[in-house]
Amino acid sequence: MSAIVRSEEVRARGPENVSAYLYIAPALALYSVFFLWPLAQLIYLSMVRWDGMAPKVFMGLQNYRELLASDPRFWLSLQHNLQWLVGAVSVPTGIGLFLAVFLARSPLYGRLAFRTIFFLPQVLSSVVVAIIWRWIYSPDFGALNAILRQVGLASLARGWLGEESLALPALFIASSWVLYGFCMVVFLAALQGIDEAYYDAAKVDGANALQQFWYVTLPAIRGPLSTVILLSAIGAFQVFDLVFIITRGGPAWATMVLSVYMYDNAFRYNKLGYGSAVAIVLGVLILLFSIVFLRVRERLEAA
């Protein structure tokens, strides 16, 4: 009955329906030109062999077959992205959450100043951040080794960006330094929406600080928390600037990630078709992750 009523309502609107589409037509046109059409071109490019100058040679799915079946550097890059993802959804998120709770609930003077300081790395350009951290990690002239030597910990001074086992974590620390401020700000906003009465009730029930956090704070900020986790995960798949500027994927591919691999193939190896295939695969991976994540979140919320 309701469906019949609804369809009658729709038919009854008539010209109003058309005017609704007319309203969104300009935006849709721009969207088509600046997104849908480039996306279609990208998909086509991923199926050709093209160096950017000579005529394109259609190859079908050959680029994808080569990428997925016989390119160890692709899988190594993906592995690094997944490692980055695990870190991104835990470290800056965890630090941001801790700082947000601490700043929101502790009687600390100068909280606004601390919020500003913690957020400052976010306002820096990613290129500036990369240059700063590249200098920090310099083994002979950088701040990190200089400080370690000054405080008597010279044995800990390393070639941070030259050791395969340390380079990726070093880059990740630089990234976390930027991201935790954003996470903190999101969580602070969410915490302000929690009614103090819940904490009072918890205290009356004898809950300590940790229990208040677990039973009051976390459930209340579940939505923003999952959003931050999702955005951090997407960022981990898309990471480019820091890797490109600091290590270019080295040493010996130890920090290569999919976005830099895509860039190298498209713009340095003159394999635009292959680079486009990497881009498509990366996009599909992000999409699949997001769909799964959102579905799991919906089910948890329903439960």
Binding site: F34, M53, P251
Partner: protein
């Protein structure tokens, strides 16, 4: 459409937007050059005399893109370009400087879309100016070269160097040369009673002496990859016959990275690493760190390219010298990575082609060559009387270029193989591959590249 489905489609579109926009917009992007710095008083002092004056009928801006990472060099070119503009009333030269990667990416995209500069001083060779030529983006300069006498003013093999692949037509004109060799601390050498070696045995003895006396022989920056690769390529030029290096450069079959000369070069380099002849954390040191370690006097030598002349002279507190790497095998022809540097090209899409050719002609002239020489560079121009060197370093470099034959950055036509080469060398230096294994890894990629070029 169900709500969940609409959400999925929306999410699909939102997530693909950054990736699609970056990659495809990058293919169609208009170039955005960085502005070159204004000339300083120092540049004014070294600027060339007035070029030949012609009058342009209406105000014209000549767009010139220049490949250089040296602030001093860019300032010099800005001054020279300003002089050209002054001699051509109504003409303004807009010079934009680009780094190596930026120029190669941006110029290709610009030319491909029919835009870009009137003139470019760009990377030479198969993937660069010859690719632009094959695609019809730049004009042939063969007849212009003869009319303007460039082939008389510059060595024929310098102009023809980058043209071999196409068998003759000239599309780019170089005006200076670079090489890779050994910069050394002259003051330290004098103090220790050392002198530049003439033979490989003398060189090995010199390195060992420096180490025994408590000095680090070499500064290397392997984190950036290419500086360390230059060590390897420089050694290949003194261990391997020249024809093999040339064939490798032009991606011809018959030469392998597993051949004796390449393995020997890798073994020598690995030996230096094992004996501690390189700076302690060279695997994590950048190209800038390498330069600083040398100019600070923390190492006695560094193997680097002569585009560092400007920087090394300015930033060192000691006298800097230069010598060509001696031959390991005295029976091979003595070569180094001596190459004509980048090339001047004229865009087919330039609306001021005659003016653009005049600009290149000015750059190929004696006055500009003198200005380059005075700044410490080594021009290709054949001076009737060699000018007086502006520094001992320039004299050393000039003499080194006269002693050795031309060489090749032999992975420039194979960028992907070059990256694999760098990774293999880094792994070798970290002790994870033997020299033989490193060369085998590179050869695997090389074989794949040969197969691709034959498709």
């Amino acid at each position: 459409m169900k709500r969940g489905g609409l959400a999925v489609v929306t999410l699909l579109l939102v997530l693909f937007l950054p990736i699609a926009s970056v990659l495809v917009a990058g293919c169609a992007a208009q170039p955005t050059p960085t502005a070159a710095p204004q000339p300083t008083a120092a540049t004014e002092a070294t600027q060339a005399p007035e070029p030949t004056a012609t009058t342009a009928p209406e105000p014209v801006t000549l767009q010139v893109w220049y490949l250089s990472g040296s602030p001093e060099e860019i300032q010099l070119l800005e001054g020279l370009s300003a002089k050209f503009g002054e001699a051509h009333p109504g003409v303004k030269v807009e010079l934009s400087a680009y780094g190596y990667d930026d120029m190669n990416k941006t110029l290709k995209l610009a030319l491909d879309s029919g835009t870009g500069p009137d003139v470019a001083y760009c990377s030479p060779g198969g993937p660069f100016h010859l690719a632009y030529a094959k695609a019809g983006h730049i004009i042939e300069l063969t007849d212009i070269m003869k009319e303007r006498g460039w082939d008389q003013k510059h060595p024929a093999d310098a102009i023809a160097y980058w043209q071999k692949e196409l068998g003759g037509p000239i599309y780019g004109a170089p005006y200076d040369v670079t090489t890779v060799g050994v910069y050394y601390n002259k003051d330290l050498f004098s103090e220790l009673g050392l002198k530049p070696p003439e033979t490989w045995e003398e060189f090995e003895k010199l390195i060992a002496t420096l180490k025994e006396k408590g000095h680090t022989p070499f500064a290397a920056g392997a984190q950036d990859g290419w500086p360390f690769d230059h060590y390897f390529m420089a050694l290949v030029h003194v261990t391997t016959p020249a024809n093999k290096i040339e064939d490798l450069n032009y991606v011809k079959p018959g030469v392998k990275f597993t051949d004796d000369g390449f393995v020997q070069a890798a073994t020598i380099l690995n030996g230096w690493v094992q004996k501690g002849y390189l700076n302690e954390n060279f695997l994590a040191a950048s190209a800038d760190d390498q330069a600083k370690l040398f100019t600070n006097g923390q190492t006695a030598m560094t193997i680097a390219g002569t585009w560092n002349n400007f920087t090394f002279v300015k930033q060192s507190s000691f006298k800097v010298g230069f010598f060509a790497l001696p031959r390991v095998d005295p029976n091979i022809e003595w070569r180094s990575m001596l190459t004509p540097n980048n090339v001047w090209v004229v865009s087919k899409y330039s609306k001021h082609q005659d003016l653009a050719i005049d600009y290149v002609d000015y750059m190929m002239g004696e006055d500009v060559a003198k200005a380059l020489w005075d700044s410490g560079d080594i021009p290709t121009f054949k001076f009737a009387t060699p000018p007086k060197p502006t520094s001992d370093l320039q004299l050393d470099v000039y003499q080194a270029t006269q002693k050795t034959g031309v060489g090749y950055y032999f992975n420039v036509n194979m960028a992907e193989v070059g990256d694999i080469e760098i990774a293999a060398l880094q792994k070798m230096a970290a002790g994870k591959l033997t020299p033989q294994e490193a060369m085998a890894t590179i050869e695997e990629a090389h074989v794949k590249k040969l197969a691709e070029t034959q498709q």
